[in-house]
């Protein structure tokens, strides 16, 4: 599971009104090289919840992102490389996603988050 996925997942259980962003606990991480594509990164910025991304990046050990992305940063190679790495190259192999409201835990095993809800949560 990459941070891109984390940024798009929420706890949709019945009765939960604020199931995003999910907390992240990490026990195993792998880094896999991905093709660096600045145009794609620029397209993704407005689709992300930036605050949630920065918090998750800190969990995987990438800190120091600005609080907002200004247009000049798209010319900043160092920023783009760091953003690319945290968003697309770091894979959480084992860990847990935690609902900010209910504390419900969703396991991440072998790189795949399990968002299945129990019958009483649907």
């Amino acid at each position: 599971m990459r941070l891109l996925t984390h940024n798009m997942l929420a706890n949709n259980a019945k009765g939960v009104t604020k199931g995003f962003p999910l907390g992240l606990e990490v026990t195993a991480v792998e880094t896999k090289e991905a093709e660096f594509n600045p145009d794609f990164l620029k397209k993704m910025v407005p689709k992300l919840e930036w605050g949630a991304f920065c918090e998750a990046a800190a969990v995987i050990g990438v800190t120091g992102f600005p609080t907002a992305v200004t247009p000049d940063l798209f010319e900043d190679e160092a920023f783009l490389k760091k953003f690319h790495n945290a968003l697309l190259e770091v894979h959480v192999e084992e860990g847990v996603l935690i609902c900010p409201e209910s504390g419900r835990r969703f396991a991440i095993n072998k790189g795949i988050p399990n968002m299945l809800l129990n019958e009483d949560e649907c």
């Binding site: 996925t5 940024n7 798009m8 997942l9 199931g19 397209k43 790189g111 795949i112 299945l116």
Partner: protein
């Protein structure tokens, strides 16, 4: 040169995951045929619900060539694992999650999906066979084969981006006209892209998109 799509010999499946068959091939054929139109909308986010072996989403990832990102969900954990293995074998990646239908990707993907792919459990079966888990979740569709399809249809318009589209598999028994009617009620127009007669079924690929687009 024909566009690169997923290869069967690199596709992972076992007895607990629905093996790619005529319906899967047809969905990929339709995606390839329609790709020149889809490409014009600069697709960035593609989502497949119920990705099974990953044959279809892997083909989408190969068509996107890194200009976009693919998401895939499956209610069957073994299918989600197969999807990830198939993607890895082709050297592409997608965001895979285990879960029912949208698997927690709503509301964040609402209004952001440029290409939505859906090969639903469309086979008419007794209602009690729907959602039993394992490989039967891949085909058991309940009344008219529509029980899972009808849970998805009202959500499609909310998920699609302004220029987004849905490509889905249907069979004759699903009542294509009624499916189009349901989509229309939610603000989507639709048309049949492909129709084929397979062993025991007449298969269709339906495309749907926002009514305000031409």
């Amino acid at each position: 040169m024909p566009p690169k799509i997923a290869e069967i010999k690199l596709t992972h499946f076992d007895g607990e995951v629905y093996e790619p068959a005529e319906d899967s091939f047809m969905l990929v054929d339709a995606l390839v045929d329609d790709w020149p139109n889809i490409e014009k909308t600069s697709p960035t986010i593609c989502l497949e619900i119920g990705s099974g072996t990953g044959y279809v989403i892997c083909s989408a990832a190969l068509l996107l060539q890194g200009s976009g990102v693919c998401f895939a969900t499956d209610v069957n954990p073994r299918a989600a694992a197969a999807t990830q293995a198939t993607l890895a074998a082709h050297g592409v990646s997608a965001e895979v999650a285990i879960g029912d239908l949208f698997a927690g990707l709503q509301p964040r993907l609402s209004g952001q999906v440029d290409v939505l792919l859906f090969n639903p459990p469309y086979v008419p079966t007794p209602s009690e066979e729907v959602g039993r888990g394992g490989v039967s979740a891949a085909w058991a569709g309940g009344d008219k084969g529509r029980e899972v399809i009808d849970r998805v249809l009202p959500q499609v318009n909310r998920l699609l981006s302004a220029t987004g589209c849905l490509l889905m598999v249907l069979v004759q028994e699903n009542d294509i006209e009624e499916v189009c009617q349901r989509l229309q009620e939610s603000g989507l127009q639709s048309r049949v892209l492909l129709k084929r007669t397979a062993d025991e079924e007449i298969l269709f690929i339906l495309k749907a998109w926002n009514s305000s687009l031409q």
